[in-house]
């Protein structure tokens, strides 16, 4: 079992790594970005294989699995070949930055201390993840009733479509399928359904987010900042808990981070042929929408912010270039998502006026979870605004801690060290998207057909945890540093006015 499992995981990760390397701009596709590309590869690989697995289900109804395996092998080999042909030295090359190899390994004493602390915290998080998983190997409530249940249907049902559509027991039939199809694909490879599979998938996404945060900060800023960001993320108990509960929010958080990181790389890179970063942004944003409905909101916000930001800052030509390139990565995934939403899944409970519109127990229990007010009443009900603001304030204040969370300490860090103008320019899109996501969530809560208190209690913390890796990235790129600027060794040099690329 372990060999087949490892083979299927390595296959998807390799396809992710090769596809990222092909799109990664030539100059920075070197050894210095291997950790970064490897962290991205796990998620992108799962996304690609999930996308292809869903296509295979639609085309063959789950038959001829051996042909699916062959097709995956061919896809991986073709991507590998493209890498060798178009990105020579994509693993070991030093690229355009001759100092990069030395600087990467030449850590200052403070960076060494932070590295030691990071590894201690990383070990703590891994131990905690394993213990929580052993306590609850099938995952938390939503994993059991949603993501892993769907995966079982995909892996077991003779006719997945019929089972999927007519199931009276699914709470949210319209939820996107990246996580269930990823798990079902691995189960199909193995031939049975060990609990190890969803657990390992959750582990990979949780700790790839840490790797991605560290490596992106280390590359854009400095290894010290990378370690600090990773320490703060990995010691956030709710982040580890959510990952170990096998919820899709961790996966969604990973793809949001990947989108914002690649966009920041694009905005920071001095090379003129860096459009590959934008395509990767599009792919990552697409996978976030293929993971959770919140990802659709993320895509909308990302495109809107980019449109207005580039229109104002760079003019219509740059705006059109950016949006078109993002769409090249995004469109194929959105097409499959649209097919799923329009042709396979029934309507969403939010749009169909509540849980009573659903079949099964959620309709039965609809009275328990639902609000009977109309949207008009909800919008003019001041008490709902107050309830949401109060719940969000408490959650943000306590985030990552017990009575006091990490937020006040980050505020202190920001007050003492200030902001970096260059840093803000690199992540201004990400920052605006995160703020708009919070505003979007606010209005979803305001008009939710569910009982508001129930909805806030059961979902707000998860939404914040999903935003947390991206928020940490934006924060540590934008804030000042505790070391003198002359001691830093930034990988990217600011190039002043950006120009239309290509």
């Amino acid at each position: 079992m372990i060999w087949t499992f490892s083979f299927s995981l390595i296959l998807s990760s390799l396809s992710g790594f090769f596809s990222i390397s092909v799109l990664w701009p030539q100059g920075t596709c070197t050894r210095t970005t291997v950790i970064l590309r490897s962290s991205l590869a796990v998620g992108f690989g799962c996304g690609i294989s999930s996308y292809w697995f869903f296509g295979w289900l639609c085309l063959t109804n789950g038959s001829w699995f051996s042909m699916f395996v062959v097709s995956e092998l061919v896809i991986t080999l073709v991507l590998g070949l493209l890498c060798v042909l178009f990105r020579p030295g994509f693993i070991n090359g030093a690229g355009h930055d001759p100092a990069a190899r030395t600087a990467w390994n030449d850590l200052t004493p403070s960076a060494r201390v932070l590295r030691a602390i990071f590894w201690a915290m990383f070990a703590c998080a891994v131990i905690s993840f394993i213990l929580i998983s052993l306590e609850n190997p099938h995952g938390g409530f939503d994993a059991l009733g949603g993501w892993n249940l769907r995966a079982r249907f995909f892996a077991r049902a003779a006719n997945w479509r019929e089972a999927f559509i007519s199931s009276p027991s699914f709470a949210h039939l319209d939820y996107p399928l990246l996580l269930p199809t990823t798990i079902a694909r691995l189960w199909k490879y193995i031939g049975h359904e060990p609990v190890l599979v969803p657990l390992v998938v959750a582990f990979l996404f949780t700790f790839s987010s840490v790797g991605l945060l560290y490596s992106s900060l280390a590359y854009l800023r400095d290894a010290r900042v990378g370690y600090l960001g990773a320490i703060v993320l990995v010691s956030t108990s709710s982040f580890v808990l959510l990952g170990a509960s096998q919820y899709a929010d961790t996966v969604f958080g990973f793809f949001m981070l990947a989108s914002i990181v690649t966009l920041a790389f694009y905005d920071a890179a001095p090379t003129r042929d860096n459009a590959g970063f934008l395509m990767l942004t599009g792919v990552a944003a697409g996978f976030s929408a293929w993971t959770k409905n919140e990802g659709i909101l993320f895509v909308l916000m990302l495109m809107t912010v980019r449109f207005f930001g580039q229109l104002k800052g760079g003019g219509p030509k740059l705006c059109a270039h950016d949006l078109t390139t993002i769409m090249l990565g995004l469109a194929p995934i959105l097409a499959v998502l649209a097919y799923f939403k329009l042709a396979v899944a029934p309507g969403n409970y939010y749009l169909n006026n509540g849980l009573e519109s659903l079949p099964g127990p959620m309709a039965h229990l609809g009275k328990a979870f639902q609000s009977s007010d109309t949207i008009g009443h909800k919008v003019i009900d001041i008490s709902r605004y107050w309830l949401i603001i109060k719940a969000a304030s408490i959650e943000i204040w306590r985030f990552g801690g017990r009575s006091v969370g990490v937020t006040p300490f980050l505020a202190l860090y920001l007050i003492c060290l200030g902001v970096k103008k260059n840093g803000i320019r690199r992540v201004e899109t990400g920052m605006a998207v995160l703020v708009l996501m919070l505003i979007g969530y606010f209005f979803i809560y305001l008009t939710t057909p569910l009982n508001l208190q129930f909805h806030l209690t059961t979902s707000l913390w998860r939404l914040l945890v999903a935003l947390w890796p991206s928020a940490a990235f934006v924060f540590f790129v934008a804030t000042g540093d505790w070391v003198n600027a002359k001691k830093q060794s930034p990988r990217f040099v600011d190039v002043g006015e950006r120009r239309v690329i290509g």
Partner: protein, 151 residues
Amino acid sequence: VMFALSVLRRYAPLSILVAFSLYHGFALVRSSTLGYLKAVRPDPVSALERRLAPLKTGLASSGYNTVGYVTDIPIPEDPSWENPVVLSWAQQYLRAQYVLAPIMLDDSPAHSVVVAIFRNASSREGIVSDLGFPAVVDYGNGVFLLLRSDQ
């Protein structure tokens, strides 16, 4: 003094942030270890999988795609999401569906075959006679398969 203040301004927030992270990192290990040591074994889902294993085998050979579901966990007339009974009902239903997938559980006795999962096996008499199922297969541990007379 200015130099000391400058150093303090630069390193104090960093040190506080790292100390906060260290504390919560170790606290997480502590709480997860305690949780693991106190956890019921096997976990509730694995326990239900074992409990439903004979039923699952029986259903797999019967060829049914959808079956009904009844339980002795009562749903209050006016259920509130804060009521633990409602949560308990939902947990058992979803766990049973998770275990029996791809057979679909419909939360209704209006089927020719109905799965009954009782916390208390003595609930059987009252519920089964109320629902009017003449044939009952007992799989033990409070798990029954209720069949209509024409089956």
